[in-house]
């Protein structure tokens, strides 16, 4: 990989990250945009959960990750416990031969 390619990747990534904070930050947002931004976290987090649980590259897959994610629905569980129990669940299922 050339240094030029590496820097293009870094600059492009930073531009995506900084567009919101640098262009929108420090000013009042119109109420309509504010309403959209209020709903974005739920949409984005749900999309992350869905793809990280059910996608393998560009293929859809049902494997040990789904069982691990289900642990997160355990109500009132501390965050650390969800993460640890999720990990152990997936490790045990894979040890048992599941994908």
């Amino acid at each position: 990989m050339s240094w030029a390619a590496l820097l293009v990747l870094a600059a492009g990534t930073y531009a995506c990250r900084a567009a919101g904070p640098l262009l929108l930050g420090g000013r009042e947002l119109p109420p309509r945009l504010d309403a959209v931004l209020g709903l974005l976290p739920a949409a984005l987090l749900a999309a992350l959960v869905a793809t990280q649980t059910f996608a393998d590259g560009t293929a859809l897959a049902l494997d040990a990750r789904a069982a691990a994610a289900a642990v997160a629905l355990w109500r009132g569980a501390p965050f650390v416990a969800v993460v640890l129990v999720g990990t152990v669940t997936a490790a045990l299922l894979r040890l048992a031969g599941l994908p």
């Binding site: 990747l9 990534t13 904070p21 490790a91």
Partner: protein, 228 residues
């Protein structure tokens, strides 16, 4: 009401939990990148400057498979295009001088955004964002350096179930956000759109497109305007 101390403790504890996972993945990235013939300097530069696990693994994966550098860069950029949407969402946490916002933007990751968004109090959300971002930046880069120097296989993190931890963590952070109908509709639309697009677009694009799922929530009555 939680005291200031317990909240601060929670921010640090959650950040360190995620950080422990990031450290393992950082080491495995360092190993993988150097075995794909990247120099130690380039491997570390990727973690310092790009600082995005998914994209870094994708880039190295394309290169290791003999793909063109341009293809590797494009797949990395497509994966990171989701930060456009995440950047809008964390903008409220990054008030202040241009320098402060510019620095905070580099600390934007799925994890720092998700943990901050799950924090109901605005001041604690800002603190959570910075604590998580700094912790992840430090452990990701330290892990990368160790992996690049040691260069020995530590095994596939998937065998240890480590890859399953993140979706579980994100789901735990998502559930409390679903407190009204518009948000539930937005979440369903976002997840559905992302899964529909997964087989037909490069990784990363489905997440960016899921932002449009948020618009579906606008059509639903019963929204709260305290939305963040």
């Amino acid at each position: 009401m939680p005291t200031d101390d317990t909240v601060r403790g929670r921010a640090a504890r959650n950040a360190l939990t995620i950080g422990a996972y990031a450290a393992v993945f950082g080491v495995s990235f360092g190993v993988l990148a150097t075995s794909a013939d990247l120099s130690v300097a380039q491997t570390c530069a990727l973690s310092l400057l790009v600082f995005a696990g998914g994209a870094q693994f994708a880039v190295v994966g394309v290169l290791a498979a003999g793909g063109a550098t341009a293809a590797a860069v494009v797949s990395g950029l497509l994966l990171n295009s989701r930060y456009l949407a995440f950047g809008m969402v964390v903008t409220p946490f990054l008030r202040g001088s241009v320098a402060r916002r510019a620095l905070g933007a580099q600390l934007l990751t799925d994890e720092s955004a998700a943990l901050a968004l799950a924090e109901p109090d605005a001041r604690e959300a800002v603190r959570t964002y910075w604590v998580t971002g700094v912790v992840l930046y430090l452990v990701w880069n330290a892990g990368t350096l160790v992996g690049a120097l040691v260069g020995e296989a530590i095994g596939d993190p998937a065998t240890l179930g480590l890859d399953a931890a993140l979706p579980a963590a994100f789901l735990a952070l998502l559930v409390p956000l679903l407190r009204d109908r518009p948000r539930r509709v937005a979440a369903l639309a976002g997840a559905g759109l992302a899964l529909l697009l997964t087989p037909v677009t490069p990784p990363g694009v489905p997440i960016l497109a899921a932002a449009l799922g948020g618009l579906a929530g606008l059509r639903v009555p019963g929204g709260t305007r305290d939305a963040r």
